[in-house]
Amino acid sequence: MDTPTQRILTDEMIAEIREMYKHFPVKRAACIEGLKLIQKHHKWVSDQAVRELAEVLEMSPDEIDSVATFYNLIFRKPVGRHVILICDSVSCWIMGYAEIADYLKKKLGIQFGETTADGRFTLIPICCLGTCDRAPAMFIDEDLHRDLTVEQIDAILERYP
């Protein structure tokens, strides 16, 4: 059942965040680490999570949000069970990124930034993954897939139910 008043930050998470800012002269220095921690547990960072983190770090929710929205790997919208990050930078572009991206959009029936209706995949373009000698490349969750061809995509996606 949906319990909107349930807190996102557990006591354990708050303790972990306090441990982080102990090493810095100011509490707000743990802002990015705190956002990462929330995302590790919840896959994205909701408005409520921003408000709760703001209390712990003695910042305003807007200040937290200004950081959260700056970094592209902090998700401020819900994502699917699996997140596909396809590299759209120059080496991958030369090596055939566009065909892979078009195929993924068609196969999944979504555009960039969208999640499939069954909540299985979110598709996001991303800049250089630092694996340009093995282009084109993409991440699915924590797995890096390289030397991609359109023919391989179906089999790769099947590994992510």
């Binding site: 902090i74 930078s89 080496s91 030369i94 800049c127 250089c128 630092g130 340009c132 282009a135």
Partner: protein, 423 residues
């Protein structure tokens, strides 16, 4: 040919653990450094001719010497290893981070000793999970062996080292933006001066060095200046990690003498162009460097030589443009990246780069006008060095300006034929 930085990296994709690193001379450089004065260490690195491998090529020893001594400015000071490798087309630090983390840690401890820093950080880009795991384990091994912590090897010098894994944005590679990110803030750049060596992390003196730069340091301390200089083919010292991506036979990464010729890297190491593709040009050191063309094939890939032909060695990772790839499309891809990655802090970059991208998009789609090419010149002037807080926008205009210089006819064909001739 000596390859001190990479020769001991396991070929199976694993990393060099402490025991194996020590067997091949690991931490000998640190032992020697701790017997010298900090000033002697700085002078040695200066004499060796080590220049920053992150792109700007600033003398590492000189950068260290600009940190005020604890007598001049008491209190904490910091060293940061910049592992935010996000320049398009760049994949060199990945190998060092994944394969030889102790070499980096040793270089950091030596650098920290030289500037008398008690704390240092590894700033790691996101998405290098193998590197992250290796570094965390290596830090622990180094603590257990007494290379980190209190009174290192009985020298009286103490040092703490930790890692921050970033959550994206190209801007984090700029040293003042990186410091803001490390403080938990948006990665906007800071006005310089003051430079980070005087006022950096939480306002304290801070040195930011590239991963490859720091990985050179243990070898300089261990084997000395003349050995280090003998590794190179030019006036600056050492080897360089060179990479090639694009339509070549064997894309890859190789540690070679600094100053190896572009032709040798392209033809012998990368195997030349794939069958059916002609070499048309290349960005010699990542996405924010100027194109070079076939007339520059014999340029030596070192800082001064590449500058002489109007480009920059940058990161030393070459992106090859072939005759079947549209140069307008390639530059559009780059400007899309820079426009998106602009942090929005200063107006010329925030407004100028999206404008540049839209004009290129129009040209690529056959909607361009000849006047647009003149607007690119104006935009380049508005975003020239000195008009922006950091080097992002000036760097972004380098591939475009050089493409207009060498491949202007391709832009004009798009405009006259109202389409992309490569599609």
């Amino acid at each position: 040919m000596e390859q001190p930085l990479t020769q001991h990296i396991p070929k199976d994709g694993g990393w060099l653990h402490l025991k194996d690193y020590e067997k091949v001379g690991g931490y000998q450089g640190l032992r020697k450094a701790l017997k010298m004065t900090p000033k002697e260490v700085i002078n040695l690195v200066k004499d060796a001719g080590l220049r920053g491998r992150g792109g700007a090529g600033f003398s590492t020893g000189l950068k260290w010497s600009l940190v005020p001594s604890p007598d001049q400015v008491p209190g904490p000071r910091y060293l940061v290893a910049n592992g935010d490798e996000m320049e398009p087309g760049t994949f060199k630090d990945r190998l060092l981070l994944e394969g030889n983390p102790h070499q980096l840690i040793e270089g950091m401890i030596i650098g920290a000793y030289a500037i008398q820093a008690e704390f240092s950080y590894i700033f790691l880009r996101w998405g290098y999970q193998n590197a992250e795991k290796a570094i965390l384990q290596a830090i622990q091994e180094a603590y257990e062996a007494g290379y980190l912590g209190k009174n290192i090897l009985g020298s009286g010098f103490s040092h703490e080292l930790s890692m921050h894994t970033s959550v994206g944005r190209y801007m984090c590679g700029e040293e003042t933006a990186l410091i803001n990110a490390l403080e938990g803030k948006r990665a906007n750049p800071r006005a310089k001066p003051p430079f980070p060596v005087v006022s950096g992390f939480f306002g304290k003196p801070t040195v930011v060095n590239n991963i490859e730069t720091l990985s050179n340091v243990p070898h300089i301390l261990d084997k000395g200046v003349s050995w280090y200089k003998s590794l190179s083919k030019c006036e600056d010292g050492g080897t360089k990690l060179y990479g090639v991506s694009g339509k070549v036979k064997r894309p890859g990464l190789w540690e070679l003498p600094l100053g190896t010729s572009f032709r040798e890297i392209l033809e012998e190491y990368a195997g030349g162009m794939r069958d059916g593709y002609q070499f048309k040009g290349a960005l010699p050191g990542g996405g924010s460097t100027d194109f070079i063309t076939a007339e520059h094939l014999d340029v030596a890939m070192d800082y001064n030589s590449v500058a002489k032909v109007g480009s920059r060695m940058g990161t030393g990772t070459i992106i090859v443009l072939d005759d079947r790839t549209c140069v307008v499309g390639m530059v559009l891809n780059l400007e899309h990246f820079f426009a998106q990655e602009s942090c929005g802090w200063c107006t010329p970059c925030r407004e100028g780069l999206p404008w540049t991208e839209r004009l290129l998009q129009a040209i690529e789609e056959g909607q361009g006008r000849m006047e647009d090419l003149k607007i690119f010149d104006d935009l380049t002037r508005y975003m020239a060095p000195g008009h922006t807080f950091c080097a992002l926008a000036p760097g972004a205009m380098e591939p475009l300006q050089s493409a207009l210089k060498y491949f202007r006819a391709d832009f004009e064909r798009h405009i006259h034929e109202h389409r992309c001739p490569w599609k």
